[in-house]
């Protein structure tokens, strides 16, 4: 199934946000993605962040810093975002397995240079940030209270093909 990219963003101003923070291991006993829904980012260690708050509930995009999604291979991490309607992450860098899991599920893990991520965080001073994604044009547009910034991003042709196919199972099944 094709995913929806873009929408209201939640900005998590910390590097090395790990998979145990995104979805604690005690919830890995679930065997459906939907069952994970209430536990998104439950153990995130970040001042001012409320896992039960409105900002997260309304968010369709997560913006963060370096090495996002480090730690476990659990695909429950991208899934808990997916079932909460968050199909796009924008960060300075990712842990390999998390990044691959995002693309394998047909979702977007967009990487931007640190300077661009800094500008995204600065934009939040103006108000809530809204992100629009142009996958074909490889551009992210962020706006807050009338202010607007556009960033170009790189994506490997393989990752792009996965997103367009709807995921790795679809891609692999058609090809191998």
């Amino acid at each position: 199934m094709k995913k929806i990219f873009g929408g209201p963003a939640i900005l998590l101003d910390r590097s090395d946000i790990n998979t145990d923070e995104i979805i604690p291991a005690k919830y890995l006993t679930e065997v459906t993605k939907e069952a994970l829904k209430p536990y998104c980012l439950e153990d995130l260690k970040l001042e001012g962040f409320d896992p039960k708050g409105e900002t997260l509930r309304k968010a369709r995009v997560v913006v963060s810093r370096a090495n996002f999604g480090c730690g476990s291979s659990r695909e429950h991490a991208p899934w808990v975002f997916e079932v909460n309607g968050i199909h796009t992450i924008v960060a300075e860098s990712y842990a390999r397995i998390f990044r691959q899991n995002m693309f394998n599920g047909g979702m977007l893990a967009i990487e931007l240079p640190k300077a661009d991520i800094d500008r995204l965080f600065a934009l939040e001073q103006a108000g809530p940030v809204e992100i629009a994604v142009d996958l074909a044009g490889q551009q992210v547009t962020a706006s807050a209270d009338g202010k607007r910034e556009t960033f170009r991003f790189d994506i490997s042709p393989f990752d792009k093909a996965l997103v367009e196919a709807g995921g790795w199972v679809e891609f692999a099944d058609a090809r191998y």
């Binding site: 145990d20 006993t29 480090c70 730690g71 695909e75 842990a95 199972v169 090809r175």
Partner: protein, 426 residues
């Protein structure tokens, strides 16, 4: 231009290169456990593709929560068990015969030099100790691996880590890898293979090499890898003696996987371990590493010895050597989980289990156990655990709990005193 071991394995397994830079590899092993596999099984059923590419190359174990603790974990175990039976996956390990995946699969001889290995578990990098390319993957990669026997990778560059000098007494592979991660940082090896080389690695047992490779992921590495040598052949010999006329012949055959002398590395890091002290983590990231001396006296509530990092026989021997004839502090709960039934049996035969019990440890069945706070040994808010595992993330062993990572020897000394302690001091 020469090639690294990882490049040679990639070349030998290349099925497809759908786009420049993306390599789809044929897989020798697809390993499964009960936490990340059931969703893949359910999805394959839902798609009407409940098939396996090769029932002899797929191995499965129930290890994270075993015996099952509640209805949910019983369902996960049942889904894996039923699937293994349905597809005649003979190498499936259930209660009584099961152990920690990254200990039991190598122990059964399933991992060989030059193999490609995936598993839905980030510590799959452990198997690189055998000269295999082994990578942790998510459930979708696992699902495609089960169905098609392939997995896609960006071909990783290799960082060579030369370990030179000689390890001082009381300093172990765990101390080395904690130190290396402390220097590299938690994303210092992202999308990279860490190739461990040098006289220190050559002198290490397979158990110690597995400890080394196990934590490559904690620096972000795709895989840790060691070159196969006589130690590798000796370990594998009971499983390969039909395949080769002699150990030397096996060694010669495995030499094809050795990195060439003119192989190209992204960088070469050299660590002289001769003056290395026992290491311990102090924060919530595995690169928050200090010498034990700097944290001496830090109070702990629980000590956990086991896991895919340090639950092997050599690890239990090291801990028992410290514990023998001593009692653990009254303020400490000691838990030990031998990683496999074979290790448990060896520890029994050697009197090690008795040493643990006499010291006041609780001995559990082989399982991942307390490592990730989803089974037994969960910490209460504010509690601290000294652990031989590989991850010290906030809440890893239970919400609000803290974990200090260390060697089995340091963990045993810490259990005795109730505070972080250098084993060489007692």
């Amino acid at each position: 231009m020469g090639k690294t071991i990882a490049e040679k394995i990639f070349d030998a397994h290349l099925r497809d290169e759908p786009f420049p830079g993306t390599k789809v590899l044929d897989l020798d092993r697809v390993l499964c456990h009960e936490i990340t596999t059931p969703v893949a099984i359910a999805d394959l059923e839902w798609r009407g593709k409940d098939r396996v590419f090769d029932n002899t190359r797929i191995k499965a174990v129930i290890d994270h929560v075993t015996p099952s603790k509640d209805s949910k974990t019983a369902l996960q175990a049942k889904m894996l068990r039923d699937w293994a039976r349905r597809h005649d996956i003979r190498d499936f390990f259930d209660v009584g015969r099961n152990g920690v995946c990254h200990a039991i699969f190598p122990e059964k001889g399933y991992i060989r030099p030059g193999f490609t290995v995936i598993m839905g578990d980030s510590h799959t990098c452990t198997h690189g100790a055998f000269g295999a390319f082994a990578a942790g993957v998510g459930t979708t990669d696992l699902e495609v691996g089960i169905l098609k026997g392939v997995c896609a990778f960006r071909e990783p560059a290799t960082i060579r880590v030369d370990l030179v000098g000689a390890l001082p007494a009381g300093v172990y592979a765990k101390d080395v890898i904690l130190h290396v991660i402390g220097q590299l940082g938690v994303n210092g090896a992202t999308d990279r293979v860490l190739e461990f080389r040098g006289p220190v690695v050559e002198a290490m047992s397979m158990e110690a090499r597995m400890t080394l490779c196990n934590m490559a992921i904690e620096a972000g590495g795709t895989c840790g890898i060691c070159l196969p040598d006589a130690v590798t052949v000796d370990y594998l010999w009971p499983f390969i003696e039909e395949e080769f006329p002699s150990r030397d012949a096996a060694l010669d055959a495995y030499r094809v996987w050795h990195s060439d002398a003119d192989a190209v590395y992204e960088k070469v890091l050299t660590f002289d371990v001769s003056t290395l002290e026992p290491q311990v983590t102090y924060g919530y990231k595995p690169d928050h590493v200090k010498a034990v001396a700097e944290l001496t006296g830090t109070r702990v509530d629980q000590v956990y010895i086991g896991t895919c990092t340090n639950g092997r026989i050599e690890d239990l021997r090291q801990a028992a050597a410290v514990l023998k004839g001593r009692k653990i502090a009254e303020t400490v709960r000691g838990i030990v989980s031998p990683a496999t039934p074979k290790i448990f049996n060896e520890a029994l035969a050697e009197g090690i289990i008795q040493v643990f019990m006499d010291a006041g440890f609780c001995v559990t069945n082989p399982t991942c156990g307390a490592c990730l706070g989803m089974s037994n040994g969960v910490l209460a808010e504010g509690e601290v655990c000294a652990s031989t595992s590989n991850r010290n993330f906030n809440g890893r062993m239970g919400k609000g709990g803290m974990v200090h990572l260390m060697s089995p020897s340091t963990a045993a000394a810490t259990a005795i005193t109730g505070v972080i302690t250098d084993a060489r001091s007692i």
